[in-house]
Amino acid sequence: MEPIETSTSQDPAAGSLEELYVRHAPDAVRLAYLLTRDAALAEDVAQEAFIRVAGRFRHLRSMGAFDAYLRKTVVNLCMSHHRRMRTARAYAERERARIGGREASAAPVDVETREEVRAALAALPERQRVAVVLRFYGDLSEQQVGDAMGCSVTAARSLVFRAMETLRRRIGGEER
């Protein structure tokens, strides 16, 4: 089977698998770290993403798009991790409430500049946070953000816009 849509980019399968990993994994680890804030988890996510994409060389629609596939896989794995953690946390909180415990209170937002941005980012809804990281750390276009998140360019634009609106409100002081 040959893919109809082809790319002229460099064949990602060129070179050894290990070379390929060293070439592509650093970006994947950094992206995973920004999305999880957990160094060990970021390494695991990047490895798993690489293995998934590399294991499907023969099935990739566009072999030149290895980076895009890898990025997309990292995003999905991070979001999947967050979703499971959220379910487990919600379960634990409901359990605590059921047996008379109190809901955990929200942590106050840090006032230091970097911490302020970091805390405001962390408080964003997950999809908005992912969109902002891809847009402003990865310097991706809205189309690429949409591709990585599996949504339309309009939806990606909307996610980034709403995230920025929220960040402005929380961090305060900046005019649009």
Binding site: Y21, G55, R56, R83, V117
Partner: protein, 662 residues
């Protein structure tokens, strides 16, 4: 313009990213892990080639096929006919799927040639298409396969184009002939019927459609052959009556390709855009394209082409080509959830490609990174196998490591080989077993790297399928430290395996074990493979059986999920919804069960919907409810929340399940 906030964001993200772990070299064991991952896909090919057998090497375990599916044999190689509705350039036509439907609209890209041909009263160069009569063709539906050449309307000779009992419908943009002035045309659904040279022996209707401020003239022609029966004419009339088009369409746009294609499937998306899946000739066989027409009239396309069927039995993604012999096509998720079954359609004979096309309307992960499962062409039982015939690869080395004669099934061999899949990752080791007369199994395997077992292959289905009386085999690599290997079935006596040394060039230090299960009552072996040292010590064991379903995310959730699964299995095999004996069910499963829809009434409550459907409900300790819909004992749906109908339970338990083991 970059705002201050954006700048601060970038700075913080750059700063934080610098704290991410450094990657200086690839992790140990990267290649085997990629291979194991890859094996999930490769085994798909192995499954289809081995015919009998669902192969499950490299830790894939067995396919869970014992109670989910009821194979339906395909009659005489023909796929069942279904009612196909597809929209082409705004025209929605419904007809039987064995009537070839042609999307001709791509030829509109040849507008300059068409205009010249109309002006000169000639055919379009290189074709028998006479646009002065036929206009620019849009679509054509016929009860026979006329190929993708000239449309039925617009023959230069004006002859009846149909075979004796043929008939068809044609729609085109009207360019010539006895053209009615556009602004006098009635707008659809009003039409006028006018005789048209070149489209004889039928009925021709003209009408206009508003497009981008203009009224564009169209013609719709339908006709029959000289010996068409009244019943067939009535069928044609029904199809014509059902043809619809909105009188207001966006501006005329054309797709990216310029050749017509057979429409195999079609539909409409939630946003009003329409799609078709189309087959066209390609260099080697065919292309399959998914063509989407947006609500503004623009087109986008993408797909697969030049399929490797044969030698493979299936090739593609969410759509593709499959052997005409395949009984069905399934995507089997790795998490054990029910398989998605693809639609399968004959490919029109004029494309001269001896394969069928398949398409997953739902259930196939379209995102590559979400792909976690196996695409399987389920083949009829017991065909012969050439163990060297590994799909998509070239055998670079092979050795027969074991052979013998089974009293019922005759000669057999165990073979190990290296296969280059051409993916740049080097040769992949394969281990194969086959009966000379009855086929067998083959699949990729991994170096043991210190493990006792690492995957195995086996057969599924009745050992007597096809009357072969061949036993089920289980074969795989095991450590060279093992002096003895046994299969300890869930029920019955242990069965001792035969052992065969594997030359080190294939897998490193390893040997192969082979177990025969001759029990005709066993169709899906379940039990443990156990390896023993020379002194009788147990070295290790591995489970043989359906892939275990993922556990719940915390022990309390897992306990509830296990209860639900136990009840699901108890009421599904065989299905018994009409007269549920709750006491017996409780005894069988050890789960407190009640009838009704109040999840607090028991550990698991069963809401019977009808003779064929039931919903199981269970309350989690935190107050959430898990539902499990059962249809006919073969299909299942999973969800969160109180549902009282099978269809009402959906969305999955994903967030309540641990990820499956890698």
């Amino acid at each position: 313009m970059t705002t201050e906030l954006e700048t601060r964001l970038r700075q913080v993200l750059e700063h934080d990213a610098s704290h991410a772990p450094l990657v200086e070299r690839a992790p140990d064991g990267l290649r085997p892990r990629v291979r194991r991952r890859q094996a999930r896909s490769v085994a798909v090919g192995a499954v289809s080639v081995v015919a009998v057998v669902a192969v499950a090497f490299a830790g894939l375990q067995l396919f869970d096929g014992d109670d989910h599916f009821t194979p339906t044999p395909v009659q005489e190689g023909e796929r069942p006919v279904f009612e196909r509705t597809a929209t082409i350039e705004g025209f929605t036509v419904t007809g039987p799927s064995d009537w070839p439907l042609v999307d001709y609209w791509p030829v509109a890209r040849r507008a300059p040639e068409i205009a010249d041909a109309v002006a000169q009263g000639e055919t379009v160069p290189g074709s028998q298409w006479y646009p002065g009569a036929a206009g620019v063709p849009v679509l054509q539906l016929t009860n026979y396969d006329p190929g993708l050449g000239a449309p039925i309307c617009g023959s230069p000779t004006g002859d009846n184009p149909f075979p004796s009992d043929g008939m068809g419908i044609y729609v085109g943009v009207d360019l010539g002939g006895t053209r009615v002035v556009s602004d006098e045309l009635p707008v659809w659904p009003d039409t006028v019927t006018i005789h048209q040279p070149g489209c004889e022996e039928g009925t021709l209707m003209r009408f206009g459609i508003r497009r981008g401020g203009d009224v564009v003239p169209y013609l719709l022609w339908y006709g029959t052959g000289p010996e068409t029966s009244d019943t067939s004419r009535a069928e044609l009339d029904t199809i014509v009556d059902a043809l619809t088009v909105s009188a207001d369409q966006p501006e005329i746009r054309v797709p990216g390709t310029d050749s017509p294609g057979f429409v195999l499937w079609g539909g409409t998306n939630d946003d009003g855009s329409t799609w078709t899946i189309e087959a066209r000739p390609s260099e080697r066989n065919i292309d399959l394209n998914a063509v989407t027409r947006e609500t503004d009239g623009t087109y986008s396309e993408g797909g697969f082409g030049d399929f490797d069927v044969p030698p493979k039995d299936i090739d593609g993604g969410f759509m593709g080509a499959v052997s005409e012999e395949a009984e069905r096509v399934e995507f089997r998720p790795a998490d054990g959830s029910p398989a998605a079954v693809a639609l399968v359609s004959d490919i029109p004979a004029s494309l001269d490609y001896e394969a069928d096309a398949y398409y997953f309307a739902a259930g196939y992960p379209t995102k590559d990174d979400a792909f976690d499962g196996e695409l399987v062409a389920v083949m009829p039982p017991r065909q012969t196998l050439d163990p060297a015939d590994v799909p998509g690869g070239v055998v670079t080395d092979r050795a027969i490591i074991g052979e013998g004669v089974h009293p019922d099934a005759g000669p057999w061999t165990v073979e190990v080989s290296l296969v280059d899949l051409g993916d740049g990752l080097g040769p992949m080791p394969n281990l194969g077993f086959m009966f000379t007369e009855h086929g067998g199994s083959a699949g990729s395997v991994q170096p043991l790297e210190g493990a006792v077992f690492r995957g195995f292959g086996t057969t599924l289905g009745s050992p007597d399928a096809g009357g072969s009386h061949a036993p089920i085999d289980i074969v795989g690599p095991v450590t060279i430290d093992a002096a003895r290997v046994e299969f300890e079935p869930v029920r019955g006596e242990p069965i001792e395996a035969q052992l065969f040394p594997i030359p080190e060039r294939f897998l490193g230090p390893a040997q192969a074990f082979l177990v025969f299960i001759d029990d005709a009552d066993v169709t899906h072996p379940k039990g443990d493979l156990v390896a023993y040292a020379p002194d009788g010590r147990e070295l290790g064991r591995t489970w043989v059986g359906p892939t275990r379903e993922p556990a719940g995310i915390v022990p309390e959730v897992d306990a509830v999920i296990r209860d639900l699964r136990a009840v699901r299995d108890a009421i599904s095999s065989p299905p018994r919804f009409d007269d549920l004996d709750v006491a017996m069910l409780t005894k069988d499963t050890g789960v407190d069960i009640a009838l009704g829809a109040d999840p607090a009434a028991a550990d698991v409550v069963v809401a019977v919907e009808d003779d064929d459907h039931a919903v199981l409900l269970a309350l989690l300790p935190d107050g959430q409810v898990l539902c499990l819909g059962v249809e006919g004992g073969t299909n299942f749906r999973y969800g969160v929340g109180v549902a009282t109908t099978y269809e009402g339970c959906g969305g999955g338990w994903g967030d309540y399940l641990l990820p499956p083991d890698p």
